[in-house]
């Protein structure tokens, strides 16, 4: 199966099993408010931390729901645009499942300063280090995929390259946050904000934009203007880093989350961040214009503009109803690129 499909399976496992916890948490809070009883109200004998357990039991796996499809897309982008088989297919597929399972064991790292017991915090900190391992396996596999590849610097590849670097930085800072003693210092500061934006924007949004450009010809039957695509990718990359890197610094220096008024020494970082956000906004708006433009004026795309090997490239663009005129027969594995050495 294509690696994107593996990532979607892993995502759906998480969605099914994690969501009910927040459902019951919300249900209990609803009951608490409507009937004025006290599950989570300490004055009535309840425990506010119980709510946090139920909430984060869902919300931590939820962030893996958010990134796993992006990781699946990344595998498709890099293989197609470097014309390489994935390095360690089984490892990439297996690590998607591992993230799904391990992601359920770490939720308490959002609660280190909530009043949770120190012992439990230590356990969650320890487990949080483990969940980084499969992500690391993926990053190394992607690098291995690129090695000796025929890398074409198309727009999807540019977004794919951005993903690797920025996701790695975001993931690394996740480990800093998982470190119990460090987290006490940076919890609820902009350091956390920067961390998850490196993953969500530097990771997921880049993967999303890469996917949009990669499959745009397939979905619409039109090619977007490649020059504008590359320019936008560059603008997004610059704007993103200018927006969020200063946030790491000011978070570490003590700038708290969710405060509208702050000490003057943080002003310069906020200005840099806002400037970056404007640039990032330009980078987002450009595709909006040229993609819509391409619907009418873009050159017609054939069935396979990138030389891809997965099934979607073997049908016209856009695909007919039911995707194929006749059900296709799959005779080779999904990444049958010719390789330089044997056995890859």
């Amino acid at each position: 199966m294509p690696l994107f499909v593996w990532s979607l399976y892993a995502t759906s496992i998480i969605q099914v099993l994690a969501t009910p916890a927040v459902t019951i948490g919300l249900g209990l809070i609803g009951i608490e408010r409507i009937w004025k009883v006290g599950f989570f109200n300490p004055a009535m004998g309840g425990d506010p931390i119980l709510f946090q357990h139920l909430f984060w039991f869902y919300s931590h796996p939820a962030v893996y729901v958010m990134i796993l499809p992006g990781m699946g897309v990344e595998s498709e982008l890099l293989t197609t645009h470097a014309r390489r088989r994935p390095y360690g297919y089984a490892f990439i597929a297996g690590s998607s499942l591992a993230i799904a399972v391990l992601g359920f064991l770490v939720w308490g790292h959002h609660m280190f300063v909530s009043g949770q017991s120190v012992y439990a915090s230590m356990v969650f900190s320890f487990l949080s280090f483990f969940v980084a391992i499969p992500s690391g396996v993926k990053v190394f596999s992607w690098l291995g995929t690129l090695y000796k590849g025929a890398i074409a610097f198309t727009t999807p590849m540019l977004y794919g390259l951005g993903f690797i670097g920025l996701f790695t930085i975001g993931g690394l800072t996740g480990l800093f946050l998982a470190t119990l003693a460090v987290d006490v210092h940076v919890h609820d500061t902009y350091f956390v904000v920067a961390h998850f934006h490196y993953i969500m924007v530097g990771g997921m949004v880049m993967a999303y934009l890469g996917a949009m450009h990669h499959w745009w010809p397939k979905m619409t039957g039109r090619l977007y203007p490649e020059g504008w695509g590359r320019l936008s990718a560059l603008i997004v990359f610059v704007g993103f880093n200018l927006t969020f890197f200063p946030q790491y610094v000011m978070g570490y220096l003590g700038m708290t989350r969710r405060y509208h008024a702050y000490a003057p020494e943080f002003q310069v970082y906020h200005v840099l961040s806002s400037a970056g956000a404007s640039i990032l906004g330009v980078g987002y708006l450009l595709p909006l214009f040229y993609l819509i433009w391409s619907l009418k004026y873009g050159p017609k795309a054939g069935g396979d503009p990138w030389g891809g090997t997965t099934l979607e490239w073997k049908t016209p663009s856009p695909p007919p109803t039911h995707n194929f005129e006749e059900p296709p027969v799959v005779t080779e594995d999904p990444y049958s690129f010719p390789s330089l050495e044997e056995g890859r």
Binding site: D47, L50, F104, L105, M111, S117, Y119, V123, F124
Partner: protein, 102 residues
């Protein structure tokens, strides 16, 4: 075409066992088994649940994949319980190594 998974006789036998366990658990509730009364009650409940799952829900006759899907819910429920109680039961510990209150 699949054959019936279990015979009527097996269903009735399981049912009789379940009824016996209900009587047992209610009866035992009146004895002072502290500190084991909660454990005993939960073990009996677990036994009843296992009988229902294996026989009434046909998991015993199911494929390996069915076992995985059925087990997955319990596994993650177990994690929810285990790690939350890991916090709740150790709140009074002053230090992760010492345990207990002064």
């Amino acid at each position: 075409m699949d054959e019936p998974k279990a015979s009527v006789r097996i269903y009735v036998a399981i049912y009789v066992a379940l009824m016996a366990l209900v009587a047992l658990t209610t009866g035992l509730a009146y004895l002072d088994l502290a500190p084991w009364s909660a454990t005993v009650a939960m073990v009996i409940a677990g036994a009843k649940a296992v009988l229902v799952i294996l026989y009434f829900m046909h998991v015993r006759y199911g494929t390996r994949l069915t076992w995985v899907f059925a087990g997955a819910g319990f596994y993650f429920l177990g994690i929810l319980f285990f790690l939350t109680l890991n916090d709740v039961l150790t709140r009074s510990w002053l230090s992760p190594f010492l345990g207990g209150t002064p």
